[in-house]
């Protein structure tokens, strides 16, 4: 059992948990993830590691309440425990001095991007950061990000804060010579970023989040097409060369179980899961 030490609401439906998991805390690296199971009959869900503290023996992750499992997770409080956590999983990010790195993060993935930025900055890189969300209410970690970045931009889909959409990225890249781009967030956003960086010839690393079950290379549900080859995101990734990824296939595969997910979420809400949380 893994005890929740800190719980914070960063934005509506976006929550941060700091959890006691001393062995994972000692080994975790940026770019890796965990798989957790909330309760006995629960699903295994992957979440990216957004922080770790070996001395305190804790790891941090941030999640968006999108379906049954994440909603159920969101009802747990400080002092409660999570049934099972496996990690760290996945290949760690490549962190070294690349020169100037453009970091583009959207939605809930702003959280693990902060960890990346810390590591990249420690390695001596110059950091240009863009964070984005659908609307301004969903942004978080702005101050922390700004403090670590040499250049910092905000964008929202509706223009309620900062730039409207990602179109301005082209102008940024016309002004600055960037050596590497890393991007984490919704698939469509990463796809857009990749299209732009490709025309500038900037190597771009994306974090892919296909459906996973075991997270250790045994089921193949997380298979993605990268440069015409089938890769397993859980062990070969989750980070890949964004210019080689078949995003359309990824989007289709992420939606494989949409009807079942809706059913699961609906049933749970109707049975009162939201209220007492322990269903």
């Amino acid at each position: 059992m893994y005890k929740i030490v800190t719980k914070k609401e960063l934005a509506p439906k976006i929550k941060l948990f700091e959890v006691h998991a001393p062995e994972i805390a000692k080994k975790a690296k940026p770019g890796q993830f965990i798989i957790l199971i909330v309760s006995e009959k629960g699903e295994r869900i992957p979440l990216t590691i957004a922080g770790y503290n070996a001395e305190k023996g804790t790891i941090t992750f941030v999640f968006n309440e999108v379906g049954k499992t994440t909603k159920q997770l969101g009802l747990l409080n400080e002092g409660d425990s999570i049934l099972s956590i496996t990690g760290p999983l996945g290949t760690p990010s490549e962190i070294r001095n690349f020169g100037k790195v453009l970091c583009v993060a959207g939605g809930v993935m702003i959280a693990p991007m902060l960890l990346q930025i810390k590591a990249l900055r420690n390695a001596g890189n110059t950091i240009i950061t863009i964070i984005g969300a659908r609307i301004k209410e969903l942004l978080f970690f702005e101050e922390e990000m700004r403090a670590l970045s040499h250049n910092f931009y905000v964008a929202t889909d509706d223009g309620s804060k900062g730039y409207k959409g990602l179109g301005f990225l082209k102008e940024v890249l016309e002004k600055e010579k960037v050596d590497r781009c890393i991007t984490m967030g919704p698939v469509v956003m990463m796809q857009n970023v990749c299209e732009i960086t490709k025309s500038f010839g900037i190597p771009t690393i994306v974090t892919l989040m296909p459906i996973m079950v075991d997270g250790m290379g045994m089921c193949g549900v997380c298979r993605v097409n990268v440069g015409g080859e089938t890769k397993f995101a859980c062990v070969d990734g989750p980070e890949f060369d964004g210019h080689k990824v078949d995003f359309d296939q990824l989007i289709k595969r992420q939606r494989l179980f949409l009807p079942e997910e809706r059913l699961s979420s609906l049933l749970w809400e109707q049975l009162g899961g939201c209220r007492d949380g322990r269903k």
């Binding site: 499992t69 079950v213 290379g217 193949g220 298979r223 494989l256």
Partner: protein, 469 residues
């Protein structure tokens, strides 16, 4: 026996089973097991040959005639003990060993009729013992040595039990949240009830073995870290062959196409058959095609049927004779209404506009001369392509070794098939590191994994005690 030839009873005592029309829609165990009377009747068929042939067919050399004699005499307790001298998992092996290719293949009765049903008798006494309650043996005094076992499949569980009995402190690191390896995530409930695997795991824990679940070795700790930082004196690797193989043909990443491992992990480990009570979903269509001809294909096909598929068709590129699945399970599958399409192989998948598979193109095959495996090689017949309407495909064409340990352990010698190089005792190229089971042999059997675990345990014990003096 010399004076009057005993009358030979040619027919095996049939196994009581759930009726096919009932069992094809439930996940309960198909074979119900012999009663005491049936077991004794079957045991009485054994001729007690002075030079028993059966023993050579058993990978762990169980004294078969001896345990069968004890059953004849009604001494079930002693019969189990006899088996357990060599095999620590008889309730499991009795159910899943491919006996027709092992012990029973050599039984002399097979020449005139049915061989003695050694597996069913093995299962009978093991079940009899479990019902009565398994006694915990006396452990050797603590040696002060610590051994890490990686993987809680049959190889790891066996090695753990033997090492614990010898007085070593044993910790099993298992990556999944449930122990058992293929026995829990692969082989379905209707063939091997999970409660039987759980009973074995409980027994091993009672021996003092510590079980740590959710530990993927290679990520949380590497093997050198276990030896240097975590205080282990030796390591046994039993990580199995769990990496699914795909065919590499167009359309394979369409929706509705599962690897057998994904399908079986969802159904068995995550219990998707009980979705939405359990959270992990599975979608099964009306027309299911399963590619392959081994146990994994049979298990997938029969699970698909139980999940409500209208029609399940096994597509295999060779003919019935070459099918590697257990005979009994092929018969069970056909009784349940599963169709086998032989001498055909998929060439591509065709999807609908939502990205789901709707058709599968196959090509007909013919058998050529035998290949390295000794089976006749299938050769495609030009221009014989045909289409099948399918909405679910399960790919069960084989599994390769789990690669994470090999990738993260410097100095560990690996073969070109990705298996770990180990001698017959399980010793690898690294000091204090042993390996056994599917990770060394590639996909094999439960009994061979168990046997490898036993041999390695003995070798590790010798190594540790040698280090002591």
């Amino acid at each position: 026996m010399a004076e009057s030839k005993p009358k030979i009873k040619k027919e095996v005592v049939p196994m009581p089973k759930q009726r096919p029309e009932v069992r094809r829609r439930n996940f309960n165990e198909v074979a119900l097991g012999y009663t005491e009377k049936q077991a004794i009747e079957e045991a009485n068929r054994c001729l007690q040959c002075p030079k028993p042939q059966c023993v050579q067919g058993c990978p762990v050399e169980i004294d078969i005639p001896a345990f069968i004699r004890l059953i004849k005499e009604g001494k079930f307790d002693e019969a189990v003990k006899k088996i357990k001298e060599k095999n620590s998992l008889p309730a499991i092996c009795g159910r899943v060993c491919p006996q027709e290719g092992q012990c029973q293949k050599f039984c002399v009765l097979g020449k005139v009729g049915d061989p003695v049903s050694i597996g069913r008798l093995e299962r009978f006494v093991a079940d009899w013992e479990r019902a009565k309650g398994v006694a915990i043996p006396k452990l050797a005094p603590p040696t002060g040595k610590k051994v890490a076992i990686i993987g809680a499949g049959p190889a790891g569980l066996t090695a753990a039990a033997d090492l614990a009995k010898l007085g070593h402190k044993v910790v099993i690191f298992e990556a999944l949240h449930s122990p058992g390896g293929v026995l829990v995530y692969g082989i379905p409930e209707f063939r091997l009830p999970k409660s039987i695997v759980q009973a074995e795991v409980d027994y091993i824990q009672k021996l003092g073995v510590e079980l740590r679940l959710g530990y993927l070795i290679g990520r949380i700790y590497t093997i050198p870290e276990l030896l240097k930082d975590e205080g282990f004196d030796a390591v046994f690797i039993g990580t199995g062959a769990g990496l699914p193989r795909f065919m590499g043909i167009p359309g394979e990443n369409l929706g509705g196409i599962y690897s057998a491992n994904e399908f079986l992990i969802r159904v068995n480990l995550m219990k998707s058959y009980a979705f939405p009570e359990y959270d992990t979903p599975i979608r099964i269509g009306r027309h299911v095609a399963v590619i392959g001809g081994g146990n994994v294909a049979m298990d997938s096909a029969r699970s698909a049927l139980r999940l409500g598929a209208e029609e399940v068709c096994i597509v295999y590129r060779r003919s019935r004779e070459e099918m590697p699945a257990r005979r009994e399970e092929i018969e069970n599958a056909e009784e349940e209404g599963i169709i086998c399409k032989f001498l055909a192989n998929p060439t591509r998948f065709i999807g609908d506009d939502k990205g789901w598979v709707k058709q599968m193109e196959c090509i007909c095959m013919e058998l050529g001369p035998p290949d390295e495996s000794g089976r006749r090689r299938p050769i495609p017949i030009k221009g014989s392509e045909f289409l099948m309407d399918v909405d679910t495909v399960i790919v069960a064409i084989g599994r390769t070794p789990n690669p994470i340990i090999q990738r993260t352990t410097e100095g560990l010698k690996v073969t070109r098939w990705g298996t770990i190089l180990a001698d017959e005792k399980g010793k690898t190229s690294l000091e204090g590191v042993y390996a056994g089971g599917d990770i060394v042999t590639g996909e094999a059997t439960v009994i061979s994994a168990m046997g490898a675990g036993k041999k390695a345990a003995r070798a590790i014990h010798e190594y540790l005690m040698g280090k002591n003096s």
